[in-house]
Symmetry: C2
């Protein structure tokens, strides 16, 4: 059990200029966490010889593993490969196996290979080649003493494939990674400070077990990472978890890294229930989330987004009197929207949202962020008022999350 430290280096002017979000580094960090490899540095640099050499120099002074992405394409502005060869004091040589692979890729696409792609087959002599079955640029590995350097293309699909098929196996065979266990409790519908209050007593009792709160727009994740995985330590952690569950059970929607829409899908599928949605405040977002789950057509029947009073009446059967007396943004309208969409689609469950997402549309009595949700499960009904903030997108996400969470609790009777 050694303390192995990794550095992720991203080579890319597009990231520095703010054109591209560095999702590669984030993905690599996630995967490293999963195998117990601690990422200590993330560095993004320009695609110049000076910067690449400087970053590699710094990394070799502090990291055991260096994971580098970007700049391995065939075009002349990708100078990474030449720079790497120079940094490791080696030359570029033609690798016949890589050339054959590149030629085969082009043949498969029925395209004549542009001459420039022959460059892909030139690799630093002292490098070990990492196969790239789905692209033309091979990955490269260098070993210096007990330090490993990996170079991958910046194309996410190709990079991910290399990490998962070859690179992590090589890392695991070289290093004894930390033995550890991560527990996650995903909560929704409760603020971080309130969670802390409810758990304060338990946290004090188990203060030897490190726990962290990760607040997001859609809820708060609680994370426990134990490095000591002896039977005794595990048992103590299990006890800790049981006490936490006892305090906040109703807020926990998953103990895996699953989203609420996935959990809702599992609940509906296992109970053979169907769902329909009426959206105004959330404008289609809940429907979008639900249909992101493969196989959601098994339980999701459909949704109606109504952005006018007329369509609330006509499509959902909201009564004119309700709209006149209480307005479109009201508990009454939310309830009638849910009832209406349940009837239209003949579903077992329904949810509905109405409110003022902002930034415009506020009235004297109805501020931006005001939202009413309704959930229905068979003959059980829920309706509630929420006050979110002023950001339109965040409001939609919080509303969608609250609606799904209301339905979850209603079905589970918690």
């Amino acid at each position: 059990m050694e303390n192995i430290r990794a550095e992720i280096i991203s080579i890319g002017n597009e990231i520095l200029a703010g054109w591209t979000m560095n999702t590669n580094a984030h993905w690599i960090a996630q995967k490293c966490r999963d195998i117990g490899l601690s990422v200590q540095w993330m560095t993004t640099i320009a695609d110049t010889e000076e910067e690449i050499k400087s970053a590699l120099h710094t990394a070799s002074s502090r990291a055991n593993i260096v994971l580098c992405t970007g700049g391995l394409g065939p075009t002349p502005d990708d100078i990474t490969k030449n720079t790497i060869a120079s940094f490791f004091n080696t030359d570029l040589v033609l690798d016949e196996k890589t050339l054959a692979h590149v030629l085969k890729l082009f043949a498969k696409r029925n395209i004549e290979m542009p001459e420039i792609n022959r460059m892909q087959a030139f690799v630093p002599k002292s490098a070990t080649i990492i196969q790239n079955p789905i692209g033309t640029a091979p990955g490269l590995m260098f070993q210096e003493q007990n330090r490993l350097f990996f170079f991958m293309p910046g194309v996410p699909k190709e990079m991910k494939n290399m990490v998962q098929t070859e690179i992590f196996s090589i890392i695991k065979s070289h290093f004894n990674l930390l033995d550890f266990q991560i527990y996650i409790l995903r909560t929704s519908g409760i603020a971080e400070s309130r969670l802390f209050e409810k758990l304060e007593h338990t946290l004090k009792k188990y203060e030897d077990i490190p726990l962290s709160f990760l607040p997001k727009i859609t809820g708060v994740d609680i994370k426990i990472k134990i490095v000591n995985t002896s039977a005794e330590a595990r048992q103590r952690t299990e006890n800790f978890l049981s006490e936490i569950r006892a305090c906040i059970k109703k807020y926990i929607y998953s103990e895996e890294e699953k989203d609420l829409q996935e959990i809702i899908g599992e609940i509906l599928r296992s109970r053979k229930l169907t769902l329909a949605i009426a959206e105004s405040f959330t404008g289609g977002l809940i429907s979008d989330w639900i249909t992101d789950i493969p196989g959601s057509s098994d339980y999701f029947l459909g949704s109606i987004t109504t952005y006018s009073n007329e369509s609330k009446i006509r499509e959902l059967g909201v009564s004119e009197e309700t709209l006149k007396s209480f307005g479109a943004v009201s508990k009454h309208t939310a309830r009638e929207m849910a009832l209406g969409v349940k009837k239209v689609f003949g579903s077992d469950c329904a949810i509905a949202t109405t409110g003022i997402a902002g930034p415009g549309g506020a009235t004297e009595t109805k501020p931006v962020g005001l939202c009413y949700l309704s959930a229905i499960y068979k003959d059980k009904k829920f309706v509630k008022e929420f006050h979110f903030g002023t950001d339109r997108r965040i409001n939609k996400e919080r509303g969608a999350m609250a609606a799904l969470e209301s339905l979850r609790r209603l079905i589970l009777g918690i």
Copy 2:
């Protein structure tokens, strides 16, 4: 006109562990690009004294401006402020103005201030304070020779507010930033290689003007950045742009950094047109995108997501014969869905999507990724078959984009 170089330092274990995407660094880089400030390094480090000092040391050897986020909260594990004070050889002192602000924030929320928040009012003596009107942790600025260091909280809203209200003004008053001009042409519905083919001749003619292609799931952006902004250079760039437009006019939906849903909104609003949407393949995503635009209720009437044959018949009036003869995934069904939703909502325009988003649901004749789109503008109709890939989310996004683009071209008659 100096060559001013900035470094962004993110302090955050959560980023290194892959729990949190570093959206702060991306946002800052975007904003720096907008004011002509070149970001040369992005560095993410752990929240420890050793790492913070080491990163600041490196940054002061290479950057003129250092923008640092994270680790300024009141909890004991936020050691950033003490470390900064030590790095700049100064002490923490109580700042009465900040204390008054923090007290006021808690008073406003009607909460008694936890004693721990008093810590927020202690600031390094030699620092200039950057106001944080929406949070308790003040920002800090240090000047060393002609080098500026900024420290901001990691909370995105607070960080963004500081950058936009104070920090950029300070930077502009200290440095003469590069005079430059960026042109952007956003295209949709055409692959990068096809764009390149169409523009090859023009690109050769103007090869002194640097142009880049930025392919994304939703389309390809073309970007031109000119640093020489003399009247002559501008005129030559204008000529270049005119020739580009002549070659690819129909694919360009915006010459600003606007999304297609925003452009569609502008087109509908200016022509006083209304829109309704019927979704199956895209599952609510188009509706979600359209309603992300503030004020979309002016032109968006509503949408219906139908995930079953029955609801396509009942809600959208698709004929049983059509479904029987051609299936739900067909040109005919797409067309009838669009016609149906246009009628239901009484809109001027309509779009509809049907297809197999995957990963399941394929049949022998209908593979995953097959999608039919229809768009209607008054009496003009469009329907087309698309073949996307195997990733469900990417399919939804490509389908949504293609549907909006079809409508745009139909309305504009291009």
